[in-house]
């Protein structure tokens, strides 16, 4: 790998950077208001969380899960009903997490054991689950008022003394800790890497990159500190990202996902239980969709039959924009998070500009097409048979 390749690999990050600059200019700096920056993460939390799970499915061979938006709605509906029936919030959360894993397992069962194509199976799931959710809601909008449930997801960290003033210092401290951790991990990685000429050449470039990331994190946390501070929801999102980055990079299961997507026959002949890999990735997807359902219900404070509509498309879009291969076997959590942010910045920038939501869809479509075209062109050499 040389510097040229390294830059090429970061092309989505560059695109994100350019889009951010573009909207800062277009909105006259409004995008940088602390409130807007804070909302950027919270409003797109559901996309980030679900695209982590979606990435696992896509890795296993371009399998997607169309039912996740419906799962968000169903879990939201159940939460609303149960809370209004006076059931304890913790119990409700536990039940819903279990239930969403069960729904994931349901999809996984049909796909791995009966060999139903994932598209068809989850399309059926989408109708089925959305219908159930609407039945549970009885076509009404149900508000959630249980404060201990809402606080679990939407409250802000508020440490006495430290956060008493206008600036919530805890958020800034948290940001600094994260950037230190990132820096330390990178340095440890370099010391382990072999010191070939190419590697040395790259270190300088990577140093700059780490510095930029650190600076961005600290600036961002400072902005958040100036608004309401660190949200509990942000912690949930960060936790999911870290866990899934760990799964894809560092576990045998993650490796199995890449292997099955890269070459299912070879994976099978290497002793990997391909069916189990499909099953587990859909189970995890169900789980994350359920978590998103809880978060959405808490953030909006109400659930109706259209909650979570087209969320599946946002999650799938984030994966592909983030460089996941539509054929499976390639993609990273880092890329997916960047993809989700890219979508988020575009959404928010256009909202601030007051652009009509119909046109927002048009722009989203164009971005998705461009991103995937770029991926195909750079990795597959269009129109040329090997």
């Amino acid at each position: 790998m040389n510097i040229k390749d390294a830059i090429k690999n970061k092309s989505m990050a560059m695109a994100l950077f350019i889009v951010i600059i573009l909207f800062i200019v277009l909105t006259g700096g409004k995008l940088l208001y602390p409130q807007n920056l804070s909302n950027l993460l919270l409003q797109n939390g559901y996309v980030i969380i679900m695209s982590c799970g979606m990435l696992l499915c896509i890795l296993t061979g371009g399998n997607i899960d169309l039912s996740v938006g419906a799962i968000v709605c169903l879990i939201g509906a159940i939460v609303a009903r149960m809370l209004n029936a006076g059931i304890n919030a913790v119990l409700v959360i536990v039940i819903c997490v279990g239930l969403s894993a069960l729904i994931g397992a349901w999809n996984g069962f049909w796909i791995s054991k009966i060999h139903i194509p994932s598209f068809v199976c989850t399309l059926a799931g989408m109708f089925l689950i959305r219908g159930l959710a609407r039945a549970i809601l009885e076509s009404k909008t149900i508000a959630i008022t249980n404060t201990s449930f809402l606080d679990t997801f939407t409250s802000y960290i508020n440490i006495p003394v430290l956060d008493d003033g206008d600036i919530k210092w805890s958020a800034l401290i948290f940001g600094i800790i994260i950037s230190i951790v990132i820096t330390v991990i990178s340095i440890v990685k370099w010391t382990k890497d072999d010191k070939t000429r190419a590697a040395k050449q790259i270190v300088a470039y990577e140093c700059i990159q780490i510095l930029i990331i650190d600076a961005l994190i600290i600036l961002y946390s400072f902005a958040v500190a100036r608004y309401k501070g660190l949200s509990v929801m942000a912690l949930w999102i960060i936790a999911v990202c870290i866990i899934y980055a760990f799964i894809t990079n560092k576990t045998t299961f993650g490796r199995h996902c890449y292997a099955v997507g890269g070459n299912a026959k070879a994976a099978m002949l290497s002793g990997i239980n391909v069916g189990k890999v499909y099953f587990m990735s859909y189970l995890s997807m169900g789980l994350l969709a359920g978590l998103s359902g809880l978060i959405m219900a808490a953030r909006i404070g109400a659930v109706n039959g259209d909650t979570g509509n087209t969320f599946e498309m946002d999650a799938i879009g984030a994966c592909f924009i983030g460089g996941a291969s539509a054929y499976g076997g390639r993609g990273t959590i880092k890329g997916v998070v960047i993809g989700a942010f890219l979508l988020g910045v575009i959404n928010q920038g256009m909202s601030i500009l007051g652009l009509d939501s119909n046109w927002q869809l048009v722009v989203k479509g164009i971005v998705l097409l461009l991103a995937v075209t770029f991926d195909v062109v750079s990795h597959h050499r269009v129109g040329r048979e090997t």
Binding site: N249, T252, F253, R255, N263, L269, S270, G271, I272, G329
Partner: protein, 513 residues
């Protein structure tokens, strides 16, 4: 001066530096049936691909002269326009379409509004009658047997006004009655003035239909034999096909055979996974001792790969029965994982499709079958993974820039080494090597053979499946010969020879008849 429909002159075709065809000459007279024979990998298919435009003009040296003019085919359509039609071993028919639709596929009989079904049916019936197939054009192809499907292929070729028909192993999937019918059809077509080139391993059939026979060996034409009286000497042809002096292309090794049986397979039976009534492996029993290399030879379709894969975790076939013992202990190998854990490894013949993760790096490929060894519980130890990959790169002298190199960018020989690394790291007692030297150059071949010798010196056992007879003769201690899903002969490699082996295959063929 003879009237040649086709003259192939001094064709040289290289694949990444390796000569697959080296000065091939072939002259086909108008209106004759010309047979092309040679061992697997002699270059017959490559030659046919050049002739039909699959390898376009300019990708080879030499000339293809057809009807007196030099051909410059860019693709398959160009050659079909000129009346050259090739029928491959694997049928190119679409099972879910009718016979008529298949015959005119890509060449549809059109009316004013789309396909003219009446014309399709009429014309299909005409060509079907010509090939002697008594089926309605509306019957779906999947509902007729392989023999009839072959006839549909020929009908399809006739519908394109073929003047040179090339058949690649046309009878390999047919029974005797069907084969006879097909061969008679070829004789019938000859009377109508069509020219045929037939590629076949079945010398008896060739003797029956062919007017002249050209033998190809190692990518070069050995000679053309007249057969106008249909009385050729099969032994003579076999000698032409395999008769070569073996130079020392195989590393020397000590005899390492131990006393213990490392691998025993007893009365192994396997049915076809789709045509579940068809027996693919028929009561096969064999054994391999510790430190022994045992070869498996057979023509394509003899069932060697199917045998290996069905043993290796039942990854092929249906209704598998039989017993496997590894180091004397009976093993139930119902999944690949169990097979690996019992000490068995299978190095596939198709490394691109069944072996490697081409888009991943060497490390990922090396540890894929043994992730348990480089992880604690479920967490991977990257440092250990790297060191394992590094160790194998050094051990097998794989030419790579680093362990991070993507496998698809390696040469065939080095890809094969990565594949071997994967299975050596699984630390098997018995390795099944399926065509371990396919598509790699002579130098890399030698290195792979050296690795095999090291493995058996460590007391491992190797089941070596190969279609390259010299490799088997050079490397093995014993050779089993397979034909039609059965083991038909077994001989020590020191007593084996090309003639003997081909003779025993032909003998078994006759026994079936």
């Amino acid at each position: 001066m003879d009237d040649y429909i086709l003259e192939i002159k001094n064709i040289i075709k290289k694949f990444s530096g390796v000569r697959a065809l080296n000065n091939v000459n072939l002259n086909v007279k108008r209106g004759e049936i010309h047979a092309l024979v040679g061992e697997n990998g002699a270059g017959k298919s490559t030659l046919m691909n050049i002739l039909s435009g699959v390898y376009p003009y300019g990708s080879y040296e030499g000339d293809v002269i057809y009807n007196g003019s030099v051909c410059r085919f860019k693709n398959l359509n160009n050659s079909e326009e000129k009346g050259i039609v090739i029928i491959h071993q694997e049928f190119a028919l679409i099972p879910e379409l009718s016979i008529g639709e298949n015959i005119f596929l890509g060449n549809e009989r059109l009316g004013i509004l789309g396909i003219d079904w009446n014309r399709t049916e009429d014309e299909a019936s005409t060509v079907l009658r010509k090939v002697g197939l008594n089926e309605s054009p509306n019957t779906l192809v999947k509902d007729i047997g392989t023999g009839k499907q072959q006839l549909v292929e020929i009908a399809k070729a006739l519908s394109k006004n073929v003047s040179l028909l090339i058949l690649d192993e046309p009878t390999s999937a047919l029974n005797d009655e069907e084969s006879k019918k097909l061969l008679d059809l070829l004789l019938e077509l000859k009377k109508e003035g069509k020219t045929c080139i037939i590629i076949s391993h079945k010398l008896k059939e060739i003797a029956y239909v062919a007017d002249r026979i050209t033998v190809i060996r190692d990518g070069a034409t050995i000679g053309t034999v007249e057969n106008s009286q249909h009385d050729i000497d099969e032994d003579y042809i076999i000698k032409l096909m395999v008769g070569r002096e073996l130079i020392n292309r195989y590393p020397k090794r000590e005899r390492t055979i131990g006393d213990k049986l490392a691998f025993e397979v007893d009365s192994w039976n396997v049915n076809h996974p789709i045509y579940t009534d068809k027996k693919v492996i028929d009561n096969v029993s064999f054994n391999i001792k510790e430190g022994e290399i045992v070869g498996f030879y057979g023509l394509q379709g003899a069932g060697r790969t199917e045998l290996a894969m069905s043993i290796f975790g039942h990854s092929y076939g249906y209704k598998i029965t039989g017993k496997v013992r590894i180091m004397g202990r009976e093993c139930r190998l119902s999944t690949v994982r169990k097979a690996i854990e019992s000490g068995l490894s299978y190095v596939t013949e198709d490394r691109k499709n069944n072996g490697l993760l081409l888009a991943n790096n060497i490390t990922v490929n090396t540890t894929l079958a043994s992730l348990d060894k480089v992880s604690r519980r479920v967490v991977l130890d990257s440092a250990k993974e790297e060191s394992v990959a590094e160790m194998f790169i050094n051990k097998l002298s794989t030419k790579a820039t680093s362990t991070k190199q993507i496998v698809s960018s390696l040469s065939g020989g080095n890809q094969q080494k990565v594949l071997l690394s994967k299975w050596m790291y699984a630390e098997p007692k018995v390795l099944i090597l399926d065509e371990p030297t396919r598509g790699i150059d002579v130098g890399a071949k030698y290195e792979i053979f050296c690795i095999m010798n090291e493995l058996i010196a460590e007391g491992k056992s190797i089941m070596m499946i190969s279609s390259e007879l010299p490799d088997l003769l050079g490397m093995c201690d014993r050779i089993y010969i397979m034909n039609d899903g059965r083991i038909v002969d077994e001989m020590p490699a020191c007593e084996a020879s090309g003639e003997k082996i081909i003779a025993s295959i032909i003998r078994s063929q006759q026994e079936i008849n």
